[in-house]
């Protein structure tokens, strides 16, 4: 039941392209400062056949993506560039917020094509539009449910990203 993406779809880092490739599970990086929410999102994603890596804050997430501070000096070391297909992050985190993390990802020539989804327990319209304007693919309200993950997958597959 694969939904075909147009041949002009961008790089293979998009969820859609990967979901057609039955060999590999989509790899999702989930970022949240709450240990409970990390466990929950991990299970939700694993139940949807995703490979999951979790990070407890923005700086750790950036390190995992190869965008950490010390990585800037090693721009030739592409070996560590993670093949992450989706980043889902909480908005309210101490220090670097999900919005700050989103900006850093969109500033990176390597990672900017990876879809980023923002989650928040608060439904603040200005917050939502700010994130979408900065390039977030979707904004989701917590607490997340299985139906949200289904909707997420559908949205990513249909956006032809």
């Amino acid at each position: 039941m694969a939904i075909s993406t147009p041949s002009s779809a961008s790089s293979g880092s998009s969820m859609a392209a990967l979901m057609e490739n039955g060999d590999q599970l989509p790899h999702v990086l989930a970022v949240d400062d709450s240990v409970i929410d990390r466990k929950l999102i991990e299970k939700l994603l694993k139940n949807s056949s995703c490979k999951v890596t979790t990070a407890e804050n923005g700086p750790r997430a950036l390190e995992f993506l190869g965008l950490g501070d010390h990585d800037r000096h090693n721009s030739l070391e592409k070996g560590n560039v993670s093949k992450v297909n989706l980043i889902i992050t909480d908005y309210c985190m101490p220090g670097m917020t999900g919005y700050d993390l989103l900006k850093k990802i969109k500033e990176s020539s390597v990672m900017r094509e990876v879809p980023v989804v923002i989650m928040s327990s608060e439904n603040v319209p200005t917050r939502i539009s700010k994130c979408l304007e900065e390039g977030a693919q979707m904004f989701m309200l917590k607490p997340l449910k299985q139906s949200d993950i289904k909707r997420l997958k559908c949205h990513l597959m249909n956006s032809g990203n």
Binding site: I36, K46, P143
Partner: protein, 154 residues
């Protein structure tokens, strides 16, 4: 047959008890979501998440008591802790705790120390209640599992 009779009894007890947690407002639909996520690959998922919630909540309640015990309480800090507790209780479906946290945040906004102290007591009460209820539920589950193993030895 005594074996399956006991199993049926325990099952009914567990179902009735669990249903009461929902009807009495301790838990909401999000808890059902957790139960639905549990599967053979992770048969203790609910217990694991709830245990994390207990640990995290107790930590936050301690932090809140400390923060409110200051001469000039830092309401931003207090609010941040309450926000976290509200989030985690919402994520597991602990509706009573979540509601108490919402009220607490209003007191934080008003920078009302007396109000905050009262709210902290209320949150603590709700937390203790739901913790006891959940621990009882897990005990009943264990009893049921044990009875099932005895009735139907494989």
């Amino acid at each position: 047959m005594a074996g399956s009779g006991l199993v049926d009894q325990l099952k009914k007890q567990l179902e009735a008890f669990t249903a009461s947690l929902f009807s009495e407002g301790f838990l909401d639909d999000q808890f059902t979501q957790l139960q639905q996520l549990q599967d053979e690959s992770n048969p203790d998922f609910v217990v694991e998440v709830v245990s994390l919630f207990f640990e995290d909540s107790e930590r936050l309640l301690n932090e809140l008591a400390k923060a409110l015990d200051q001469q000039n309480a830092d309401f931003t800090k207090v609010d941040a802790h309450v926000h976290q507790l509200k989030g985690s209780s919402s994520s597991i479906g602990a509706q009573g705790v979540q509601r108490a946290c919402i009220a607490f945040r209003n007191c934080c906004e008003e920078k009302n120390i007396e109000g905050c102290l009262k709210c902290l007591q209320l949150v603590k009460q709700e937390y203790t209640l739901v913790k006891n209820k959940l621990q009882t539920m897990f005990k009943l589950e264990q009893q049921l599992l044990a009875a099932q193993r005895t009735s139907f030895p494989m």
